[in-house]
Symmetry: C2
Subunit: 190 residues, 2 copies
């Protein structure tokens, strides 16, 4: 049986957890200067995503490079949304483009709690962001069983070649905390 949504939408929208809406609103007017403050913000979102059981232990955010202000947040929503593309970086890009009403996130940076996987690193140049900051290394994600995929050995050089600055891993110990909590809670590894 087709639902009305199936009839009019090609792909479903992904609902926003209420706690995340509150965090995005609360931080919309605050300055988060420097890489570490931004990273701690996304690590806290990743922890909240695990605590609230609204997805995997990954979070991301888009910041305006010039003003240091938050543009949009994203969280891993793969299992609750039943959408394999719904990684934190992808939902952050999607939300930012929807809010700004433009495809290119030129002038913005991606801050993500973990090194982007093969899909998310492939998606990054298409998003238009000019800087990427990541927390945990792929080795840390793989340590708890997450598969990061094959993205080629030269992904970082390729980003730089395209004018996308990359910084990470950053705050590796803190950025491992969401994984630890997820494992403690027996979260699904996919």
């Amino acid at each position: 049986m087709k639902t009305p949504e199936n009839d009019v939408m090609l792909t479903p929208g992904i609902p926003m957890p209420p706690w995340l809406r509150e965090m995005e609103s609360a931080f919309a007017d605050r300055l988060l200067s420097g890489d570490e403050a931004k990273m701690r913000f996304v690590i806290e979102i990743a922890l909240e995503n695990v605590r609230h059981e609204t997805g995997g232990p990954f979070a991301a955010a888009i910041f305006d490079l010039a003003s240091d202000r938050l543009t949009a947040v994203g969280v891993n929503s793969v299992v609750p949304a039943c959408q394999s593309w719904a990684h934190a970086e992808m939902t952050a890009f999607s939300r930012a483009q929807h809010k700004l009403k433009r495809v290119s996130l030129k002038g913005c940076m991606l801050v993500t709690s973990c090194e982007p996987c093969a899909m998310c690193s492939g998606a990054t140049p298409w998003s238009g962001v000019e800087k990427v900051l990541y927390g945990a290394s792929r080795a840390m994600a793989e340590k708890v069983g997450f598969d990061e995929g094959y993205k080629g050995e030269l992904w970082r050089e390729e980003f730089e070649r395209r004018g996308i600055r990359v910084t990470g891993p950053l705050l590796e110990e803190e950025s491992f905390a969401p994984f630890e909590l997820y494992v403690q809670k027996n979260g699904r590894i996919y």
Copy 2:
């Protein structure tokens, strides 16, 4: 100003062009046996996407491997949806997962009018499909100016290693037709 949708959705749903809804319905009960019939079907969708000006010259579909029946279609919707992730393969995965109500498309194949870009090939193992069939090579897409990104030299070996069979390029001349039409119509290259 926030729209009501911004308040409740993390990411927006992507509307389905009415002509595509009709094509998906019309083919839902038909058998499309063999690789070439499936490829001609997605090439026709890509052409329609250009004719109707509902996105870029790319289309994809998910078929059930055992029955040869169509599960879901997808088209490039990047510009109309203002979403850089909305490549044909991605929207096809998303729609199929939504229709089947499961994250894993095990038992399914992806048929795409063009070799998957870096994002889409990174996304393919996460989708769970067991076979990929593509039409135009990346060289053909790049010939008209599309950027396919960096996915590493070993992407095909990596798919096979994960148990994903890859076939392509297939019907290269026919699969170039959507690009030709797009260029004729002065479509936006992004």
